[in-house]
């Protein structure tokens, strides 16, 4: 089936540094999402994105977070600066109009 790719699979950084998580969505998809999973359990919505704009963001999407997809390339999540509580697995997803397809996740560890 359709594949969403995420790069890198694991990132370790020091608190206060900037990090960019990359997502390569399914090629003909129109909507893009980031979700955050803490402790291997609760999956929570961060943000969705369509036509170059953020549609909706949750309260977890702090001011230090930003997303973009310049010229149809990677859909990125940038965190600047990072905090300890940003340690989690971040999942990217994409969809046309219905089912969302998920990537394998990026495990972010903030020291």
């Amino acid at each position: 089936g359709p594949k969403v790719l995420q790069i890198p699979s694991h990132q370790i950084i020091d608190m206060g540094q900037m990090v960019t998580l990359n997502c390569d969505p399914v090629s003909n998809h129109l909507y893009f999402y980031w979700y955050k999973q803490i402790l291997g359990q609760q999956m929570e919505f961060l943000v969705n994105f369509y036509n170059g704009k953020v549609m909706e963001k949750s309260k977890l999407f702090k001011d230090q977070f930003s997303v973009e997809r310049p010229d149809g390339s990677y859909f990125t999540l940038k965190i600047q600066p990072t905090a300890l509580e940003d340690s989690a697995v971040y999942f990217c997803a994409s969809s046309q109009y219905g089912e969302q397809f998920f990537g394998p996740g990026t495990r972010l560890t903030v020291l």
Binding site: V4, L30, Y31, Y33, Y35, G40, Q41, Q42, M43, E44, F45, N48, Y50, M55, E56, S58, F91, A93, S95, Y97, G98, E99, Q100, F101, F102, G103, P104, G105
Partner: protein
């Protein structure tokens, strides 16, 4: 506001036994409902989805779910589980707008004893 509750955080069954994982949702409109499965250190895979019509929907690997509007439920079932079904299962809700966010239940960790 919309929410999903999975009352059982952990379920353990023996291989070959039947399975039901419970899911209750809260949403004022017509929900789109999904069950996703997550294997260790992997992303999420869609098991099945309900948009409308027949309340019993079939999914992959012998899973099915039944939508009940009166009970606000979408329970997942399987007649006979296999050890490879051990994973975390998420019940998920979405409204019917394109591009809308998914709202996840807390997940149920299923362990199948050989």
């Amino acid at each position: 506001a919309q929410s999903v509750t999975q009352p059982d955080a952990r379920v353990t069954v023996s291989e070959g036994a039947s399975l039901q994982l419970r899911c209750k949702y809260s949403y004022s409109g017509t929900p789109y409902l999904f069950w996703y499965v997550q294997y260790p250190r992997q992303g999420l895979q869609l098991l099945l989805k309900y948009y409308s019509g027949d309340p019993v929907v079939q999914g992959v690997n012998g899973f099915e779910a039944e939508f009940s509007k009166s009970n606000s439920s979408f329970h997942l079932r399987k007649a006979s589980v296999h050890w490879s079904d051990s994973a975390v299962y998420f019940c998920v809700l979405k409204n019917n707008n394109a591009g809308a966010k998914l709202t996840f239940g807390g997940g149920t960790r299923l362990t199948v004893r050989p």
